[in-house]
Symmetry: C3
Subunit: 204 residues, 3 copies
């Protein structure tokens, strides 16, 4: 029950970020709702399609579909107010990141994938929705170009969860520290301004 | 047999729209054929991959592959003539929309999905091909940004079909009114200039 | 064993091309690694998802994941040197093309698809990674717009492999000439400047 609420909260925050991108790119109501849904649920869909667990659970359960639609409608009407809460959205997003990475890695591991693929699929769960959002909105994906520490903490925490699963540790003992690693590292990176490396400039 | 012909006709019209976008974006022959195929068949492929019905039927049946290739070649050679028939293309497209939405929703419902997911997958069948077309052509998807009433009628008719299926109504009794709702609403929206809502502008 | 080495070599060359696009588009380290992986493995993933063979083998085998990551890191650090070897990259790419097309078509045929779908899936194996690379990098896919003879040799050789399989010919007797057709045609097209047709310009 707690996990369901956390999961839906993570989806809602991701969906709000999708809806705000749609509003900024001047899409219409369908654009806002599609981007909210795809950003909230798309990472899990890519993971489930790749591991062959179809239809994705979040496509069969109306509660998982209702949340991004509601978040999209809220953003459609109240986007100026939500834009002003951007710090809050970033913090919630960091918690969503921790949850999505760990849940994604554990789901892949439970489907029999080894620790390296499971860690990668944890990261895919985290960044897949944002990739689809940005591609549909006609912009280069932020997560690939911004130099922010976003996918790297997600990958690290997903790896911790996948390795813990491989070693037979109890789920809770694995999930909590792994999620804390992702969320903590992400929040520290924001507050301290830590950056991911970018390629060196070619000498001309 | 009639259904097969209608289905292939719908695919052909969608494929022509894909090929015309490719011609306008100055793609080469492969670009024209890939965009024709993806626009004609891509919505069904996304639906089938999400519900786990792979390989998609239209990938196994050479008639479904021949139609978009033929439509693409026609558009490659005769695009100026086809561009002049744009009103006709729009009308046929509205019929394709009705067919794709109802067929997509019913297929999802037959695979055990509830009415809400089935309605969404009906809409995905309608707009998925156009999404792939525009993303591959390097433009923001028209269906997300134009403010046209396109996805909304598709979703409404798909919902009617999915609810009718859930209630156990005979397929024909459900499919015809649902398709008529989509096509009729779409044609009315074009002729009367009805528009989908867009987000309000932020006061600066 | 030889086939594994060839396969990994093909993936490495494709991955390098993905990483170089990421460097040119000024993406960060995650962008470089994601584009390298997606370009090296993405075509096979699309094929496997469409034929329903999930999880894709290359997602379960750490060697297939290590190669694009290593290629991406090499390109991240040494991209000026690799850019200077662009002729060599193009030649290796032509060999990768032959390998991917034949392997993709044969895999689809072994999964029960007829020659036409199998030939198309061979081409998808060849161009899918590049399509994902360019879409994620925010550019119109080169393979759809450049007018180069790239997908057409891939489709032709894939068709030869698929038809040979259908006729019951031994795999080696089919695979070698089909791959030679792709690679040879591609290399000839580069050296002689052969081009794919583009749509005629509209008279205004």
């Amino acid at each position: 029950m707690l996990l369901l609420v956390l999961d839906l909260l993570g989806i809602a925050v991701f969906a709000v970020s999708g809806a705000l991108v749609a509003v900024r790119q001047r899409l219409d109501i369908i654009g806002v709702l599609v981007l909210a849904t795809v950003t909230g649920l798309g990472g899990g869909w890519i993971r489930d399609v790749l591991i062959g667990d179809t239809p994705p659970a979040s496509l069969e359960d109306w509660r998982y579909l209702l949340v991004p639609v509601a978040a999209g409608l809220l953003a459609f009407w109240f986007h100026p107010a939500i834009e002003r809460m951007d710090r809050l959205v970033i913090v919630f997003d960091a918690f969503g990141l921790g949850l999505f990475g760990v849940a994604g890695a554990l789901k892949a591991a439970e489907h029999g994938l080894g620790p390296i693929p499971a860690a990668i699929l944890g990261m895919v769960t985290c960044i897949g929705g944002g990739l689809l959002r940005d591609v549909l909105a006609g912009q280069v994906p932020v997560v690939l170009s911004s130099g922010e520490l976003y996918a790297i903490p997600a990958l690290a925490g997903s790896a911790v969860a996948a390795i813990g699963f491989e070693l037979g540790a109890p789920t809770a003992a694995v999930a909590l520290p792994a999620a804390a690693l992702i969320t903590g590292w992400r929040l520290l990176a924001i507050s301290r301004g830590w950056r991911a490396p970018v390629p060196g400039v070619r000498r001309t």
